[in-house]
Amino acid sequence: MTGVPPSLYLGVSVALFLLGLIGVMIRRNPLMLLLAVELLLNAANVALVGFSRYWGNTDGHIFALVVMVVAAAEVVVGLGLVVAVFRNRLRLDVDEMSTMKG
């Protein structure tokens, strides 16, 4: 097996994932939150594609494509919510959007 060793893929993936995780945890702006989630998903994608190559089959690629579709859908819904909140002239702060709390 030639080329990039899988540990490097994983390293990138972990780095991206940690960045995303920290982003989700410390940002309060929903747009930033969405971006961070996108980082999380793409970290997973990197890992999936990397392992796919490592094992020499295409399952990981397919999963990655599915994840992208899900991510796109998620962003659509997420941005829609953000716009809706913005239209109502509420502050774009996820900590204040907690009316669904039990």
Binding site: L21, V24, M25, I26, L33, V94, D95, S98, M100, K101, G102
Partner: protein, 634 residues
């Protein structure tokens, strides 16, 4: 032919009851009379035809069974809606329809002022139907059905005046005690099913000696059946309902609680005598219960003031004789006494009814006295009845009662003990019956006059009483010791399977007759001395017996004891369940479970901060923990 007529006899009173119940609006009284009395009269005529037809048959071919349709088949057991016409059931049917007709006729006048005229005759017809079903049934299932239906009819008629709480309570008591008896019979039927696999009389009674053997099952079945018999025939300790049943109208007391229904227990023992023959213990128990009942009831009757209650306790006592006779094996004697008792007790009730009717419902003997000047007909009728029941030679009670007692003499030590009890009770019977006669018709008029000016009764009441008086006087001549035995001969085909029938000896009959009639005459004399003219002696006697008297008036406190030991504990238990177990136990567990879940949920809610970052942190921390655990475990 016999069974076809039997079905019609059965259907007639039922049709009468249905027509009267379903008649739209209030039918004219003439229609009610025609249907109510007519159906029973027709049934009597047809029964007489059956009887006449059977007289012409050979005695061995007088039993007929006929099924109408297959009622049910469960497992391998088949039960048909079937009747059995044989000498025993025909004898019962004759009395039921014959005396029943007379009492129906009597009721047309007695009940004339009642608002529930139609209802009365509908329920009376229903009773006659039920009683016929009871005696005509060819298997234990329909015996039990008839048994319960007469109980239902009795319930309805005791509570006829349903706006009087006393009548309603008495009706309920009668029903519940009879249900206890029903349960005994039902368990007996299960036991028979289990051992024999059939419920038809023919199959069961012929198979019984072989199927039951010496296992004690025969005793168990016989005793369980007797629970039913004791409840229906008001034997100790299930007798307490009968005196209360006097809350019903007097014709009801005459028909149901004197002449027919209460003797169903005697019929049952005679019908299933094949079981009692192989169940010596049960037979003895039956005889002892009969003996205890007849003596106890006779002592209670002495202290009663209500004229109908005297007669009710007298009925309990007289049925005790029959039960005792049946238990000892004197089946024909028991049936003979049933027949004569139906005559003289119906007579006594109906004649007492004339008195009560004349005094507008007054039943207390304290408010009577000196009535022979106003109600001569009733006076003579009751006198005939008293002479008959007291066992004065020549009248019906003399022959039938003495037959049972004479047989008892032949039944070993137990028989002699029972003979003594029966003889003492016979003397008491003469005493309390003539006490009734003298206190009602002789003595002095009550202070403050009668409740209502006595008025004589019309023909519809007098004719049945007159017929019954004649029958009560001469009915005993059907069976004369040393002469002829019409009843025994008639029942011979039914009782043919009794291996060693107990028979009275001539010596025993002479002893019994001399002793009982002598004692009866002494008792009548004593009654005349105490109650005949004025009530000074009576009051003096009452003062002397002030101690035991309330015990007798309260019938040895059976009601009180039952209330304290059975009814009230049951009520307390039920209340404890309703107010304790139900809300705290059954409901409580569920509520507790629901509350626990809810409280837990409230606690968990604290975790739902609504802040995304805490959730994410929890997920990430969880993932780290899992990863660490996996790493360490490896």
């Amino acid at each position: 032919m016999e069974t076809n007529l039997g079905w019609i006899v059965l259907a007639l009173p039922l049709a009468g009851a249905l027509i009267l119940s379903l008649w739209p609006g209030e039918p004219p009284k003439a229609v009610t009379r025609a249907v109510g009395v007519g159906s029973v009269f027709l049934a009597f005529v047809l029964t007489a035809v059956v009887f006449a037809g059977m007289l012409g048959d050979d005695p061995s071919s007088r039993s007929h069974v006929d099924g109408l349709w297959e009622w049910i088949t469960v497992g391998d057991l088949r039960v048909d809606l079937a009747i059995q016409i044989d000498p025993l059931s025909v004898l019962m049917m004759l009395v039921i329809t014959g005396v029943g007709f007379l009492i129906h006729l009597y009721s047309t006048e007695y009940m004339a002022h009642s608002a529930g005229y139609r209802r009365f005759f509908a329920e009376m017809n229903f009773f006659v139907f039920s009683m016929l079903l009871l005696v005509q049934a060819a298997n234990f299932v329909f015996l039990i059905v008839g048994w319960a239906f007469v109980g239902l009819a009795s319930y309805l008629l005791i509570g006829f005046d349903y706006d009087r709480p006393a009548a309603v309570a008495a009706a309920k008591k009668a029903f519940v005690i009879n249900v206890i008896g029903d349960v005994g019979m039902v368990i007996a039927a299960w036991l028979i099913m289990r051992e024999v696999g059939s419920l038809d009389y023919g199959a069961v009674l012929s198979a019984a000696p072989g199927a039951f053997g010496d296992s004690g099952v025969a005793d168990a079945v016989a005793l369980l059946l007797f629970v039913g018999a004791a409840a229906k025939s008001a034997q100790v300790p299930l007798h307490t309902w009968l005196p209360d049943a006097m809350e019903g109208p007097t014709p009801v007391s005459a028909l149901i609680h004197a002449a027919t229904m209460v003797t169903a227990g005697v019929y049952l023992v005679v019908r299933t005598h094949a079981l009692y023959e192989i169940a010596p213990v049960a037979g003895d128990v039956v005889a002892v219960v009969g003996g205890v009942t007849l003596l106890m009831a006779a002592t209670i009757a002495v202290a009663q003031v209500d004229i109908k209650r005297v007669l009710a306790w007298s009925t309990v006592s007289q049925i005790g004789y029959m039960i005792m006779g049946a238990g000892l094996g004197a089946y024909a004697g028991a049936m003979f006494h049933f027949l004569t008792h139906a005559f003289f007790k119906a007579l006594l009730f109906l004649a007492a009814g004339i008195v009560i009717h004349a005094l507008a419902g007054e039943q207390s003997m304290d408010r009577m006295g000196g009535l022979n000047r106003y109600l001569r007909f009733a006076y003579f009728a009751i006198a005939v009845g008293c002479l008959a029941i007291a066992g004065i030679p020549g009248l019906s009670g003399f022959f039938s009662k003495d037959e049972i007692l004479a047989v008892a003499l032949e039944a070993g030590t137990l028989g002699i003990v029972l003979w003594v009890m029966g003889t003492v009770a016979a003397a008491l019977t003469a005493f309390y019956m003539f006490r009734l006669l003298f206190r009602t018709f002789h003595a002095t008029e009550p202070e403050g006059g009668y409740a209502h000016t006595p008025h004589p009764s019309g023909w519809a009441m007098n004719v049945p009483v007159a017929i019954l008086a004649v029958l009560a006087a001469i009915g005993g001549w059907l069976q004369v010791p040393g002469g002829w035995h019409a009843i025994s001969d008639w029942l011979a085909p039914v009782l043919a399977d009794v291996p060693e029938p107990l028979e009275a000896t001539t010596r025993g009959e002479w002893i019994t007759s001399l002793v009982t009639s002598g004692l009866a005459l002494v008792a009548i004399g004593a009654a005349w001395k105490i109650f005949g003219r004025d009530d000074t002696r009576r009051r003096a006697l009452a003062r002397r017996f002030a101690g035991p008297r309330p015990v007798l008036e309260e019938a040895y406190l059976f009601d009180e004891v039952y209330e304290q030991t059975v009814v009230q504990p049951g009520r307390d238990l039920a209340d404890a369940m309703l107010t304790g177990v139900e809300p705290r136990g059954v409901q409580g567990i569920v509520v507790a479970a629901a509350t626990t879940v809810r409280d837990a949920a409230v606690g968990m809610r604290a975790l739902q901060t609504g802040l995304v970052r805490t959730y994410v942190f929890a997920v990430a921390a969880g993932a780290v923990v899992v990863a660490v655990v996996i790493a360490l475990v490896r």
